[in-house]
């Protein structure tokens, strides 16, 4: 079954309700075809978004690029939450076209979901490899859910490669390499946000993303052992 290409933007509406009664809304819209973030930037872009401000060790972008695409995508959310503590309790509702999610959680955990989308939809040559996951965004995902979504996305990509006559990577070796590169970007971004924020909510949101990403190579190198038993219906077949 094939479906019509989506025309409407992919929309995630995050609604934060703090214990103090304060509320904050974030609307994320992605282009339905490219999954690129639809966002307008202020004319006066913050200094910390400049590529050279704290360029990631493995950044392939050259001197012709003035602003770090990830930092630029994050600029609005970082400015909004720069004065918040990471462990601030918050009730978060996330509306998508299909369903609504809600959870009592901490600001850092919910921000990590938001920042995750911004990072993979920015045109950063490294983070972009995770962009298909934005279509299947899962707010407040656990480590295991994130690992499974990453591997699923990557294996789907290998299927398409094979169908196009290219060499697929069924052993997931390049996925491990990819997450090692992403880990460096997360560290670079945490360093940037440390300098852009007064308190630690933004930084710790990236720290959570880093810890999830850092776990993917272990999940893969461990042979996906945590979920293998769930597939016995396939693996027991002759």
């Amino acid at each position: 079954m094939t479906s019509e290409p989506q025309r409407k933007p992919l929309r995630f509406a995050y609604h934060f309700k703090f214990q103090s009664g304060m509320e904050q809304k974030l609307e994320i819209e992605l282009d339905p075809q490219t999954l690129e973030l639809k966002q307008s930037y202020p004319e006066q872009k913050p200094e910390w978004t400049k590529l050279k401000f704290s360029q990631c060790e493995n950044c392939p972008l050259g001197a012709d690029v003035e602003y770090c695409p990830v930092a630029l995508n994050l600029s609005n959310v970082v400015e909004t939450f720069q004065k918040f503590n990471s462990f601030e309790p918050v009730h978060v509702t996330v509306e998508t076209k299909e369903r609504t999610y809600s959870k009592d959680t901490t600001l850092q955990k919910s921000l990590s979901s938001v920042i995750g989308i911004y990072m993979v939809t920015s045109n950063c040559p490294i983070m972009d490899k995770l962009r298909p996951m934005a279509q299947f965004h899962l707010p407040f995902a656990s480590g295991l859910e994130t690992f499974y979504r990453s591997v699923s996305m990557y294996l789907t990509a290998q299927f398409f490669l094979k169908r196009q006559g290219k060499q697929p990577d069924w052993d997931l070796k390049k996925l491990v390499e990819l997450y090692k590169a992403i880990s460096i970007v997360n560290k670079g971004m945490a360093e940037r946000l440390r300098q852009a924020s007064d308190k630690d909510a933004n930084v710790n949101a990236v720290v959570i993303l880093h810890s999830l990403g850092d776990g993917v190579p272990y999940f893969v190198e461990g042979g996906l052992a945590e979920v293998e038993h769930l597939f016995s219906v396939y693996t027991k077949e002759e």
Partner: protein
């Protein structure tokens, strides 16, 4: 026996991911979500290293560090923070933290730092053991015979034995040497007590 690590962080994702990484590396890892819970666990179980976030609701990392160093001096504490601040790092080290790591920390780096800390704990323990057995040897093989020699010389000097002036002087010199060596060994024992090494004489 694998080293026991207690991970203290208010964020569940970080606690669980560090626990998984450390267990894969061969450590025994347990978790607590704040200083109070960590304190409760430490009262019930012994840990080699506590890996603790600084900013946590309730009892924060700095307060917990101060308390743990007082109550559990044999446990090393490594502080973690997402918000690096030079003065906080200095404060943590002054309060007795063994290391200070800025998050995010790669699992490989975390494991390497913990292994290095564990190695230095082992070396310190081996050094203390060497000092203890050295002191023990001093007490058993040297102090006892020295004290006997001192008593014998004192007895001879106090007796009515006919001694020449030269003999008396030589015995007095020998007595002074014995006293000096006994005092030196006792000083070393005091020094060991001050540095936390078990007291040898009382443990004999």
């Amino acid at each position: 026996m694998p080293e026991r690590i207690l991970i203290v962080d208010d964020e569940e994702t970080l606690r669980l991911s560090m626990k998984a990484r450390l267990e894969t590396a061969g450590f025994v890892a347990e978790v607590a979500e704040n200083g109070e819970e960590a304190l409760g666990r430490m009262k019930r179980e012994e840990f080699d290293v506590v890996l603790m976030d600084i900013k946590m609701p309730g009892m924060g990392g700095i307060e917990a560090l101060r308390l743990f160093n007082e109550l559990f001096p044999k446990t090393d504490v490594v502080m973690l923070t997402g918000f690096a601040d030079f003065s906080t790092a200095i404060e943590c080290l002054k309060l007795g933290a063994k290391d200070y790591l800025v998050k995010p920390v790669d699992a490989t780096e975390l494991v390497a730092r913990l292994r290095s800390l564990v190695r230095s704990r082992s070396s310190e323990r081996a050094l203390q053991e060497t000092r203890r057995s050295f002191l023990s040897m001093l007490y058993i093989d040297l102090l006892g015979p020295l004290r006997s020699a001192r008593e014998s010389i004192e007895r001879v000097l106090k007796s009515n034995a006919k001694l020449s002036g030269e003999q008396r002087e030589e015995l007095s010199n020998a007595l002074a040497q014995c006293e000096k060596m006994i005092a030196r060994i006792q000083d070393m024992d005091e020094e060991m007590k001050r540095s936390g090494t078990a007291e040898v004489e009382s443990s004999r």
